[in-house]
Amino acid sequence: MHIVVILRLVPDLADDLDLAEGGKSIDREWVGLALNEFDEQALEEAVLLSEASGATVTALALAGEGVERMLQGALARGASAAILLEGSGDDPLPSRTAAPIYAEAIRALAPDLVLTGVQTIEDLFGQLAPYLGRLLDWPQVSAVSGITLDAGHCQVRQEYSGGRQALIEVALPAVIGLQTASKPPRYVSASKLKEAMKSDRLSRQPAGAGRLANAARIERLVPPERSAGAEMLGDDPDSAAAGILGALDARGLLGT
């Protein structure tokens, strides 16, 4: 059993997002990058599955700033191997544009299962898992929390609004867009990370030439208008608390 997990870095929302010149993208020069939170869940699920079934896990990523370190982190968390796809051009490529590059690499690896995060905060032109599902002509399910593996198929739990869920059996090979792993992502110790940095389990390959065309383009990126926003009470807890209670009193909202 071989699982490929696709990992992407996204801007860290703890940082300010400044716009690049032209106002059509954010300035990545100064913003911190973090592993997409849903990709982190996908990686954890892959490692959990490998611990349960002995599957090998290959982490796959497009080369870019910080990506090599990110893949070393994936090795430290339990991935068996990592592959960096180099020379794809712009960093980052939208999931839509990049989907054929991943698809080509995946075809060559011929895994049983492909996992990636259900979405990223940047997926304006669509999410990766369903793009890959069609390009590979493999079944695909998104918004999944929890996978079990069996011979020839996997069982996934898909979540819907209102707290409804369904168990779906999917023939392998398949592509799954993961939302939440069966257990919270594990902590990685500094010593494991150091070990992974020295390992030879990270390899490089040229990215394929395929790209998906896109007849949509960004015209502008702006912060939302603040006019409709909250009345702010400042940051002193006592006076904020007094302000809140005053407002609740005035509206008759305090439980009696």
Binding site: Q140, Q158, A166, P184, E219, D236, G255
Partner: protein, 322 residues
């Protein structure tokens, strides 16, 4: 616009509110001369047709093959409906089903797709589409050529405009959709987990987000909630961490709530959370990040530390109680 096709979703047995929102949007975009088509995949499809009066035609896949939601079946049905309808625009919800279907449709038919959509405007032969990016921190305007696919954020457009009783023409897709050689099978549908409370009917809710830090601090929030006469609910990360039961999750994959009072502590206000609570009567948000999107939806806010605020609030409420 000549034709707009809407993918209809069910919640349990009922047509999902977002589907009426999409039908309303489709009607507006189609104008007086355009056609609105809908795709309904449901076991008892025919019985639901009169609710879809906002559509001119409804493509139906009914019977046992349509029971529950299977991504593969819905994709095939959407392909068949698109083939028959030839829509300029295909609308799906930003929901679990929409996540499955939007990109799959776009890549199969070589169409552009814009996701997280919250506004659509016609501009000549093109569309200008507004989307929330970076978890609501920035708004993107995209220019899209038609035909295209849009995935629309639930709760954005009016439901009333699409909630029209009527008698749409029904077109049966059974012959056009081949469900043999299926690569997926529905094993089990699980109803929402029951719990002590129904958070959708509680008048006051106190919501804790990832900012609460750990399970131990939940007890503190529970004490404060009791003083406020509120039930404790959580954002998705708090539920995923196991600090509160799933039945208390607010948002896209949890419950939609509209209490009179919603107090949030350490919640950033991602679109998937707002979807579940933006209709609350009075929203108070505490978040130490002044640029957190929750402050756009809240009525009253403070950037103080949530733990300090919990202490102050609890103390002042106790003093009043004496």
């Amino acid at each position: 616009m000549t034709a707009v096709l809407v993918h209809i979703e069910l919640e349990g047995e009922a047509i999902a509110p977002v589907s009426f929102q999409l039908l309303g949007l489709a009607r507006t975009l189609a104008g007086d001369h355009g056609r609105v088509d809908a795709l309904l995949v449901a076991e008892a499809a025919e019985g639901q047709l009169p609710q879809l009066g906002a559509a001119d035609r409804v493509f139906c896949l009914g019977g046992a093959v349509a029971a529950g939601y299977l991504p593969e079946t819905h994709f095939k049905a959407l392909q068949a409906a698109r083939e028959a309808s030839q829509p300029e625009l295909t609308l799906v919800a930003y929901s679990s089903a929409g996540l499955d279907l939007a990109a799959a449709t776009a890549v199969s038919d070589d169409l552009p797709l814009v996701a997280y959509c919250q506004g659509v405007e016609r501009d000549g032969e093109e569309l200008l589409v507004t989307s929330q990016l970076y978890a609501g921190r920035l708004l993107a305007t995209s220019r899209v050529t038609l035909p295209a696919v849009l995935s629309v954020v639930p709760g954005t457009f009016e439901e009333a405009a699409g909630q029209i009783q009527g008698n749409p023409e029904m077109i049966d897709l059974s012959a056009a959709v081949d469900t043999s050689h299926a690569r997926m099978r529905l094993v089990e549908v699980m109803a929402p987990e029951g719990d002590d409370v129904d958070i959708t009917t509680a008048p006051s809710l106190l919501c804790v987000g990832r900012g609460i830090g750990d399970q131990d601090s939940i007890a503190e929030a529970e004490e404060l909630a009791e003083l406020l006469g509120a039930e404790v609910v959580g954002s998705r990360p708090v539920i995923d961490a196991g600090w509160l039961p799933k039945s208390r999750q607010v948002g896209k994959s949890g419950q939609r709530v509209a209490p009179k009072l919603y107090v949030s502590l350490g919640v950033s206000g991602a679109p998937e959370h707002l979807e579940g609570m933006s209709k609350a009567g009075f929203i108070v948000a505490i978040n130490k990040d002044p640029s957190a999107p929750i402050f756009e939806t809240a009525h009253l806010g403070s950037t103080c530390d949530l733990f300090d605020l919990m202490d102050s609030l609890a103390e002042q409420l106790r003093q009043r109680g004496q």
